[in-house]
Symmetry: C2
Subunit: 281 residues, 2 copies
Amino acid sequence: MFNEIFKTELKLIDLHLRSLFNTPPDSGTDLPVELHRLYESMAYSVFSEGKRFRPLLSVLTAKALNKEPEQVLPLAAAVELIHTYSLIHDDLPCMDDDDFRRGQPTNHRVFGEAGALLAGDALLTMSFGILAQSPSPRAAQAVALLSEAAGPRGMVGGQVMDVDAQNPGKLLLEDIHKRKTGRLIQVSVEAAGVLCDAPKTQVQALRAYGEQLGLAFQLADDIQDFDPAKPEKVSFASLLGNDETLRLLNETSQKALDALADFSSTADGLREMVRLNRDRV
Amino acid sequence: MFNEIFKTELKLIDLHLRSLFNTPPDSGTDLPVELHRLYESMAYSVFSEGKRFRPLLSVLTAKALNKEPEQVLPLAAAVELIHTYSLIHDDLPCMDDDDFRRGQPTNHRVFGEAGALLAGDALLTMSFGILAQSPSPRAAQAVALLSEAAGPRGMVGGQVMDVDAQNPGKLLLEDIHKRKTGRLIQVSVEAAGVLCDAPKTQVQALRAYGEQLGLAFQLADDIQDFDPAKPEKVSFASLLGNDETLRLLNETSQKALDALADFSSTADGLREMVRLNRDRV
């Protein structure tokens, strides 16, 4: 949805992600041949036509703060690896048991269940190390924020609530989505502010923007994915109807834009992300 | 094996671990009722008669460096949570498919496969956040070390190699065990040195001690667990025989002690750990 507009930023992100999985034969790295398949398995899912929505947000946040994108590339990589691990584990037979993802066989269909489980564990573990190696003096604070957003009160918690929920109402559904999808999107923006050493008021504004955009992202997803033939899948669209979900999407998108009121035109990239998400439906 | 000798240290570790899972009703925390079972599932495995070998090493390292144990409690908790997550995932049907662990039903037998998968993911994610919140100015460096030790070139890598290995020889078996068991033990010591702001030479000595103790721990495990009725389970004992494994255990234990040569009697706790491990067999 934004391949052309953010071509330069996406290229930077892709190069950085590839550098994490490159071990040229002459680099003196000691990766034993027994681990080649693990790296192949991780790379299979990381380089599988993902939209890079979250890392793009980190890079656009740096731009909004007049900082170089390099300052947030460790975070951009970390959030994308965490997003990828969550998809691998979600697709496992004991979870959604999906055979295809983005038109390709899911990780466990190619590398087996144990392989997929461990590839997910490896990506999650790597992500914090990559972020911790950021040269920013506030790297540890960014790690703490990422852990909170992805952990038992954040993404994993939302996943648990989603697995367990029977006929959730609107409030519970919103809580599930804020955790499951919203928190990682939010931290992609908020932690970028921290790594760029933004003052507290700016970080708070970015956090509010990220929260609203995270919800708007899920609302647009739910409208796109709504299938009247599968009413058992609970979503905003199936619960509230298409019109009300669209109204909520507009309202939430406006709140995201409002949160950026004190930013100059340097934040136009972040504003564009709101519009591109809105215009998916 | 060391409950009495290190009673004070174990009490501290237990209190700290419990504080991470306590959410008193009047604390104003916002844990929704839907997440209570996730926390119950995590706590089920964290408080299940584990020996606390790794966190004890962190606390004893602080002592060796004349620092307060509080300085390393975030690390002590983090390594124990990572150890716990690795056991939960190892026990899953797609891995070892174990029904019992430490005399109790395994996590997935109580909370289901999806519940166990997500409890493991949550513990792993939490661990980095806990460590990142350490007040040490070198917290980010400790996070990077822990990620490396637990990730695709460390513990997860060793797990992958263990799943895939067909009749490994001695060198490959040693590499597997160093990664799968050794690296987390090693980082429990090394990162404690970093958090205590020890100079480089001391951190290197602690790293060497941890590496040898990690190997000695696996050698003692293999002697204890060796079952001539199950020769298909590859271990040092089944590969090299009991006598040669015992000789290696003695040699490795001595190397661990030698690595501490420049430490005074403050490191006697770390020395005692080597002897207690040796005397398991």
